[in-house]
């Protein structure tokens, strides 16, 4: 049975690939989780601050979001890792630079997601809370944010999946993450179908776990009785 033999050989081959790919997977996971967390931090701060009356801050944050969203992540990575050291002479350790770059990028997108969540809370609720004598901050803390954050969980998890896939672009700044290590294996074995197929399945597994986690988080933090 040739098919069975081929399948078994492919499985043995996958088993041999695993040590190298595991090293890459480690870097992929570290980068995706770190940059997403950084992006969440940046995104929340930016989202809350954009309603500020300080003109300079408002324009600066809007420019940040628009510029980051308007340029490809790849261009940002290449610009920061190759361009900045030559022109400004600042040294760039690759993994930190990679994580910070992706963090800044996803931060811009996440700030828009959080901001739209905040803005979708009906203004009637805000007016009612002010009529009750709550300050802007109290309104935010007790009325707006609890609803807004719960609403944007699925969108943010989706962004996390995008970030995980985007970490594959780190290979252009000399970071040997999962996809690059797959290339290393292909260089030696000339089996792109098997290797990249396996790696694609690994990315899919990560995305699937993330989306299941999303459902779990949504359920766990659901406000019972809240009608939306």
């Amino acid at each position: 049975m040739e098919i069975i033999e081929t399948i078994l050989n492919t499985l043995y081959f996958f088993y041999d690939c695993l040590p190298i790919l595991a090293e890459g997977l480690k870097i992929t996971l570290i980068s995706s989780v770190s940059s997403f967390a950084l992006g969440l931090l940046i995104g929340s701060v930016v989202a809350l601050l954009r309603v500020t009356k300080i003109k300079f801050l408002h324009y600066f944050l809007t420019a940040y979001v628009e510029i980051i969203r308007g340029t490809p992540l790849l261009v940002q990575l290449l610009f920061i890792f190759y361009g900045v050291p030559i022109v400004l002479g600042i040294k760039m350790p690759s993994l930190i630079v990679g994580i910070v770059s992706i963090g800044i990028c996803t931060g811009a997108y996440q700030s828009e997601m959080i901001r739209s969540g905040i803005q979708s809370i009906p203004s009637g609720q805000i007016e009612a809370s002010q009529a009750l004598g709550m300050t802007k901050w109290q309104t935010m803390r007790y009325i707006v944010l609890p609803q807004a954050l719960r609403m944007v969980i699925p969108t943010l998890i989706n962004e996390f999946i995008m970030v995980t896939k985007d970490t594959s672009q780190l290979m252009v700044i000399a970071i040997p993450e999962l996809t690059r290590r797959a290339s290393w294996i292909v260089y030696r074995t000339f089996k792109p179908f098997e290797v990249f197929g396996l790696v694609g399945a690994m990315y899919f597994a990560m995305a699937y776990v993330a989306s299941r986690a999303s459902k779990y988080i949504e359920n766990k933090y659901r406000i019972r009785g809240l009608i939306r």
């Binding site: 900045v84 290979m171 000399a174 290339s183 290393w184 000339f190």
Partner: protein, 278 residues
């Protein structure tokens, strides 16, 4: 689609049936006018039948480079143009990223691999090499103002080393520094490696000497070759072209062209023209 049903005349079912009939008839016509099947052509017969010699290249000057108009030029291009002339077919260069160059050859997307391909045992299980045309060493490239600081490979053990995965330079870097805990960075292209060298992200780049000398001359004052090093301890590192294993007759033609060019001195002239020291 319901609006069609209500229209007078042709019903939806009739339209679908007519389209289906047309598709089936066209399919049968196409099938029955196919050329009679036979064993698939290989080697020279296949090249002559399609009229083109497709050469897979990865930009790696001075062997292969791209002009501003997007044309390919270089030592390998010139040699393989001679081969295409000898076969009486058109020469076509196709850019392929390095890690897919062998799968592309095997998938018949290209017919010959060019671009500074070293003869390696594991590759010869998959592809058929021609006779070698050049013996190469690896250069340790540093920033021009630091060239006096480095004399042997040990001088880099505490430094950041750059190379391109999948090349002999990478293998040498792993051999010399892999166990020593030296930081070895993998770049997807040579240009990225040189940019990182200029920006001081790495202190040395290890890659083929002719290409290293090319870039040192192209960017005067930026880079310099600290020293060169043999690729393997005992065997010479040789460049050859490569074809599919079943294209033995094509390899023979390429070999003939190379040997003739060696005998007539044309190969040496070509090397001088492209700045390759023989």
């Amino acid at each position: 689609m319901s609006f069609l049903r209500r229209a007078k005349g042709i019903s939806t079912t009739a339209i679908v049936a007519i389209i289906a009939v047309i598709v089936v008839v066209a399919g049968l016509a196409w099938y029955f006018t196919l050329p009679p099947p036979g064993p698939p052509l290989t080697g020279i017969a296949r090249i002559k039948e399609k009229g083109t010699l497709v050469v897979g290249v990865d930009v790696y000057p001075p062997w292969v480079s791209v002009t501003e108009e997007g044309q390919f030029e270089g030592f390998d291009i010139d040699v393989l143009k001679e081969v295409a002339d000898a076969l009486g077919v058109e020469f076509v260069a196709k850019e392929v990223i390095w890690e897919t160059i062998i799968p592309s050859l095997l998938a018949k997307e290209i017919d010959v691999i060019a671009s500074a391909l070293s003869i390696l045992p594991e590759r010869s299980e998959q592809i058929l090499y021609t006779v070698p045309y050049y013996e190469v060493t690896l250069a340790f490239v540093v920033r021009a103002d630091e060239v006096g600081l480095y004399e042997t490979t040990e001088d880099f053990t505490e430094k950041n080393v750059g190379a391109q995965a999948g090349t002999t330079g990478w293998d040498l870097a792993q051999l010399l520094y892999g166990g020593a805990g030296t930081n070895i960075l993998d770049f997807t292209t040579i240009i990225d490696l040189l940019l990182a060298l200029e920006g001081e992200t790495i202190d040395v780049g290890i890659f083929d000497t002719p290409t290293a000398r090319y870039y040192c001359e192209e960017e005067p004052g930026k880079f310099a070759v600290a020293f060169t090093h043999k690729t393997h301890a005992l065997l010479p590192d040789l460049y050859a072209y490569a074809v599919r294993p079943e294209d033995g007759d094509l390899a023979k033609v390429i070999n003939t062209v190379i040997v003739e060019m060696m005998a007539s001195g044309e190969l040496t002239d070509l090397m001088e023209e492209w700045g390759v020291t023989p």
